[in-house]
């Protein structure tokens, strides 16, 4: 196993994509390929020497147009554990504060020799636009309210590891569904893997059209709670309250917050997830977040393995593309130190 992960990644028939832009486009087989690869890397993370040589000489750039510490750190660490060089580039405020479009920013950075660009942006579709304009691989690390594919993957991975399966489970996504990229990526991954998904929140935050993604809609948390094998508590975004989508944080917490009283009405083996960063006392109370049902910290650990798996698979496909285009398989070997 170690020997294989120390060698440059190769393409497999199971993975032929150069970009990871969203989970809506992936097949269940592709999702399972990532989860299986993550198993390998979870093992690497448990060693004392947490590093393999797979991506030696590759460059991974984190291009973040939105503040993030957790996701960016997770991608950086994932890349380093694969021996890639990493660069973080965070654009605070407007991407055009110096008059440059975000595409130009990305192209300039790519010209420095980037293999994989990890992009977070507040505009849905921004990573898709970059994938069209750049020749490096693009990973969507969250685009507005659209998708956050590695979060969706790490959530299903966490469920699979805790429950032994995903198919047949009933998963509740609780909170602001309308504006949540985590909700969308979770819905795509969970439905493809055969879970039953119930989305639950106030009607101002749950668009009725979401049924067409194959989920059920509920507005009363207490009604659905006893059926749930997994509860995923989406982060409350405070600016939604200012826009009048719910009256107060206090009322939100009363209706949709997970506290120990609610936990008693849930299944004995209910699994609690939260994509974080969590607002303690709002969507989840401290005793639940830190209690035995909570998988919040496992999500973070698993996220690292998922991101290593994604980087590895994308770089493997890049090598294959390069070999195909140059028709010179010798080159790949020459690149290996």
């Amino acid at each position: 196993m170690t020997v294989e992960l120390d060698a440059p990644p190769r393409a497999t028939p199971a993975w032929t994509r150069r970009h990871l832009l969203g989970l809506e486009d992936l097949s269940s087989a592709e999702i399972e390929t990532i989860l299986r690869k993550a198993d390998d890397f979870l093992e690497v993370s448990q060693r004392s020497r947490k590093k393999v040589a797979a991506l030696t000489g590759r460059v991974v750039l984190n291009l973040f147009f939105e503040p993030s510490t957790r996701t960016r750190t997770s991608f950086s660490l994932a890349a380093r554990r694969l021996s890639a060089d990493t660069v973080d580039f965070t654009v605070t405020g407007s991407s055009t504060s110096k008059g440059e479009t975000f595409i130009d920013t990305a192209r300039n950075l790519e010209a420095m020799g980037v293999d994989v660009m990890v992009v977070r942006h507040s505009s849905p579709g921004a990573p898709h636009l970059l994938a069209q304009h750049l020749s490096c691989s693009v990973i969507n690390a969250g685009d507005g309210a659209h998708e956050h594919p590695t979060q969706g993957l790490l959530d299903v991975y966490t469920i699979q590891r805790a429950k032994g399966r995903v198919a047949g489970l009933t998963v509740g996504l609780i909170g602001d569904i309308a504006h949540s990229r985590v909700a969308r990526s979770n819905i795509h991954a969970l439905t493809k893997l055969g879970a039953r998904v119930i989305v639950c929140g106030p009607p101002t935050l749950v668009p009725p059209t979401i049924r067409r993604l194959g989920v059920e809609i509920a507005h009363r948390f207490d009604d659905i709670l006893p059926q749930l094998d997994v509860v995923n508590l989406l982060r409350v975004q405070f600016e939604r309250q200012r826009k009048g989508l719910f009256p107060s944080i206090h009322e939100y917490a009363a209706l949709f917050g997970m506290d120990s009283q609610r936990l008693r009405r849930a299944k004995d083996d209910v699994l609690i997830l939260a994509p974080g960063p969590i607002n303690r006392g709002v969507e989840v109370t401290p005793e639940v977040a830190d209690g035995p049902h909570s998988a919040i910290l496992q999500q973070v650990t698993n996220g690292l393995a998922i991101r290593m798996a994604v980087l590895y698979l994308l770089c493997g496909q890049r090598s294959a593309d390069r070999q195909a285009s140059e028709n010179a398989p010798v080159r790949e070997a020459a690149e290996t130190p």
């Binding site: 898709h128 636009l129 504006h179 993604l213």
Partner: protein, 432 residues
Amino acid sequence: MKTLLLTNGRVIDPSQNIDAVTDLWIRGDTVLGIGPQPNLIPDRVINVSGLIVCPGLIDMHVHLREPGREEDETIATGTAAALAGGVTSVACMPNTEPAIDSQAQAEFVYLQAERAGNANVFPIGAITKGRRGEELAEIGGLVEGGAVAFTDDGSPVVSAEIMRRALEYCKMFDRVVMDHCEDLDLARGGVMNEGFESMRLGLPGMPAAAEEIMVNRDIILAELTEGRLHILHTSTAGSVDLIRRARKRGVRVTTEACPHHFTLTDECLRSFDSNFKMSPPLRTQRDVEAIIEGLKDGTIEVIATDHAPHAPEKKTRELDQAPNGVIGLETLLPICIRSLIEPGHLTWPQLIEKLTINPARILGIDRGTLKPGADADVTVIDPNLEWVIDPTQFKSKSRNCPFAGWKVRGRAVLVLVSGQIRYQYPENPALS
């Protein structure tokens, strides 16, 4: 004066109920007549057999961007695009910088159009000073300067009181008031139509209700004032229904549809391509069908492009930050053929009517007809010519076209303005 004969074409002139293979005679800058003229010897004969000959097309909803945003379009480039699309007259919107809200501004448009020497341009004046929606512009002065209609297009008239007074005041000049119907509160922040597609893409939506609420308000005000109302770029099934019912009970309301609204749906936004972003936005298949139904039953009397150029550096951006609007002059005909003629929704005379005499009537301009003595604005269409839409070849200064790469059929091959040949295709003349 020289005499020109366009012989053997299918002459379609809905203003006279003509649809026949015959001759069109032009003397100098006016139409002499339709049909054989045994006693006349033409100075020049152009054989147009197999082609359609009709009054020059009129596009009553065009943004020429001049003055103020010449990086997007100028009156010269916009009118060159018009000619290439077979359009001999455009009415241009007043959302320029500064807005066309005074007599001098209107006269400037005529001056620039004359300098360009392409298509005719009829300026539409702003309803309110600076398009700020606060107080009426000098509508009398604008009429004096040649403004043919009034609108704050780009923005709705938010105040019902101002809209009411505009409808009343314009009656004095028998001019139509046009509104961009959008409830700004409901549509705020919206990037596309609100529905399943906006939900799955995570993009903020503009509900159909945002349009329909204001369409309904304007109809009620037109009823109150007995003024003349024209609803710009109707895009929803609900709007079509409201307008249909209002017309039935005698309200003086007309409307127009844009080719993109009866051809494309909000599914196009899955590409995150800003060339599918405009206001009102692309709606659903149900709305597309309702607009086609409205075109068929006459509720929608006019087809207009809402040609809205934006320079590539502005449009090639994150979808939610790119400006609204697409260009349409150079794709008007083939898209109408593909969406309306080929499926059998409209006949050629019905289509030509919506592109000639109907907009001329609404604007009160003396165009859109081939009656003897009329200005000889003529468009000759090859309905079967196949071509591929390539925005890099456009006369327009901008490239924000949602139909790039489409293989289409039909285009204008000869365009006359006041008896002069102003455009032919291919551009190295083979016809004459």
